[in-house]
Amino acid sequence: MELKGTGMAGTLESSDAQVTVEPGTNGIELSIESSVINQYGRQIRATVKQTLENLEIKNAKVTVVDKGALDCTLKARVEGAVFRANGVVEGLPWGGAIK
């Protein structure tokens, strides 16, 4: 899937993550800031990358500001941001159904 515009999902509340996606040209450019990075940095990055892969996003600038979100929340926020970026707001194929 190609990103058509910028999309954002999530909040900066504790246990949530705010994910912003923008079109890119140079693969996945990922920036992660997290309150739990010392213990979960590796897993957060893997989850975000896997979710983008499931959505077949090849090029994007992705910014994650994580406040200790669980993996399920991270996945939902990434998917939400991507769908919003592409104007998909109804009948959302949650859970990587695009795959």
Partner: protein, 520 residues
């Protein structure tokens, strides 16, 4: 060298400090030693005054010089102004290489930070550190090692001569011109001066700093004139709004209430819940809630507590006033009710830090505890607790009386939620060991209760009790199943802090904070 909780203490640290590694909570039992003593300046001439104009004059008269160790107490908590006002003057005088030996430090002491950076302060010894000083230590800015000691451990260190305090500054809510200090009354009323008693007895010079000079004699005194060299009057020694909060409202957090209820049920079903039992608890939401619900069961079953020990808050004071507690042995007051209660109820009594928790006197109050209810940042499958270093590896908390009460009590209960956000509080191994698992008997979470397998007697006693018993490994597995297994926190090589066990050995070290890097 590996110590008895499995932590590798670098040889360099042992060489630098002359300290030994932790070998078990009771390894030094029955050891004999000669106590340290202060150098005392005789005061024979009755015409001499102890009053000095300001802190500068006090420092000059005490012979302040580079490399000295200065003592402070933390009864004003986050409202303390004494540490900063003394250190500002020390800084102005260009003195270097000072070690601050405080019973605790908090974010009120953020102004010390530049003094760490410019070499005015090169050593910190405290129950713990919060705020910017904790960050500075974790980031390697302090020249020497920061030493974190429990409340009992600090008294032991001073009385045994492991640390010698050159000058101690005692913030006194009221004081007379000959140095009799009381904690009650005045503008910065803090209830007790328990942790300052050892300073008065063992520091070479003792300076009382007050904002309320009262007529002689200020009696009964917590700190006596016989131990005080000088008296300074300043405008404010503390900020009353930050010294004690209003009585904490009982928590409405259902998770905490649930854990408190589990705790109460555990205690009342334990062999220790009988007429005349002894008890201590903290002032966190769940601890406070458990005191309230325990009080209800005491009334239902007509069971009285003989003594409540340690830091005090409204819930314990109320039970004292109602006659359900015989005595409160108080070392610190956390709210206005506790401060007022010690003035009005003669059974509410101040005890010194040594009486409270020193492991190497001839028997402290913690040794008489039946049950203590504590909290922790992290606990692990060996029942070790961490109350000082957060899950990112930053120094952020204080030992307080945690290791002391855990070691003394017949039944040590730690209440912790299974998760704090994504952070699991029950882990395979804690980031830093501050209280050894051998002293921790029960872990209570909202998902279940684990009893230390070492306590087969407690496991036996709980047979048939309707509580969600499980194992510590199952709690950890449940936590990891929800949030994922955490990667171990990575640190830099340099040791920045020493976690001293209450007996003066090294139970763990804290290494320099390392910003997170991806491995690939």
């Amino acid at each position: 060298m590996i110590n008895s909780v499995g932590r590798d203490i670098p040889d360099q640290v042992l060489k630098d400090t002359g300290m030994k590694v932790f070998q078990g909570s009771r390894a030094r039992n029955a050891e004999e030693y000669v106590k340290a003593a202060p150098k005392v300046r005789a005061w024979i001439d009755p015409t001499e005054s102890k009053m000095v104009a300001d802190i500068h004059e006090a420092l000059v008269k005490c012979g302040i010089k580079d490399g000295m160790t200065l003592g402070f107490h933390h009864h004003f908590r986050n409202g303390d102004k004494v540490v900063n006002m003394v250190m500002e003057e020390v800084h102005k005088m260009g003195i270097k290489d000072i070690t601050i030996c405080a019973s605790s430090l908090g974010s009120a002491h953020n102004p010390i930070l530049p003094m760490i950076e410019d070499g005015t302060v090169t050593g910190i010894q405290s129950s713990g550190v919060r705020g910017k000083i904790g960050d500075a230590i974790s980031n390697g800015k302090l020249k020497g090692y920061a030493i974190m000691r429990s409340h009992g451990g600090r008294v032991r260190a001073i009385e045994s001569g492991d640390v010698h305090i050159d000058i101690s500054f005692i913030g006194a809510p009221t004081c007379d011109e000959y140095g009799n200090c009381r904690a009650v009354g005045g503008k910065s009323d803090c209830g007790v001066l328990s942790y300052a008693v050892v300073d008065a007895k063992y520091a070479d010079k003792v300076v009382a700093i007050t904002d309320t000079l009262v007529p002689y004699p200020n009696m009964p005194a917590s700190i006596s004139q016989i131990d005080v060299d000088y008296v300074v009057v300043v405008d404010e020694i503390g900020d009353p709004a930050k010294i004690a909060t209003g009585a904490a409202k009982p928590t409405s957090d259902v998770r905490k209430i649930m854990m408190a209820e589990y705790c109460t049920q555990f205690v009342v079903n334990s062999p220790y819940f009988k007429e005349g039992f002894t008890y201590q608890t903290g002032v966190g939401g769940a601890s406070l809630a458990s005191t309230i619900s325990l009080g209800e069961v005491m009334k239902e079953r007509n069971i009285h507590m003989s003594v409540g020990i340690g830091g005090m808050a409204s819930a314990m004071c109320k039970l004292l006033d109602e006659g359900w507690i015989g005595k409160l042995a108080d070392t610190q007051d956390f709210d206005i009710d506790a401060i007022n209660n010690i003035k009005t109820n003669p059974n509410h009594i101040e005890i010194s830090g040594s009486e409270y928790a020193n492991p190497m006197n001839k028997g402290s109050y913690v040794n008489r505890l039946d049950v203590v209810v504590l909290a922790a940042l992290e606990v692990d499958t060996h029942f070790n607790c961490n109350v000082v270093v957060d899950s990112n590896g930053m120094i952020t908390g204080a030992q307080g009386g945690h290791p002391d009460t855990a070691a003394g009590a017949k039944c040590t209960i730690v209440i912790t939620p299974l998760l704090q956000g994504r952070i699991p509080c029950v882990k395979t191994d804690v980031t830093t060991v501050t209280t050894p698992g051998e002293d921790v008997d029960v872990i209570i979470t909202e998902y279940g209760i684990a009893i230390n397998p070492k306590r087969q007697d407690l496991i036996e006693a709980m047979k048939g009790v309707k509580l969600p018993f499980t194992t510590i490994e199952e709690l950890r597995d449940l936590a990891y199943s929800m949030v994922g297994e955490p990667d171990p926190v990575e640190f830099g090589d340099r040791v920045v802090g020493i976690i001293e066990a209450r007996d003066g050995t090294i139970i763990d070290v804290v290494r320099q904070f390392k910003p997170y890097e991806y491995k690939d």
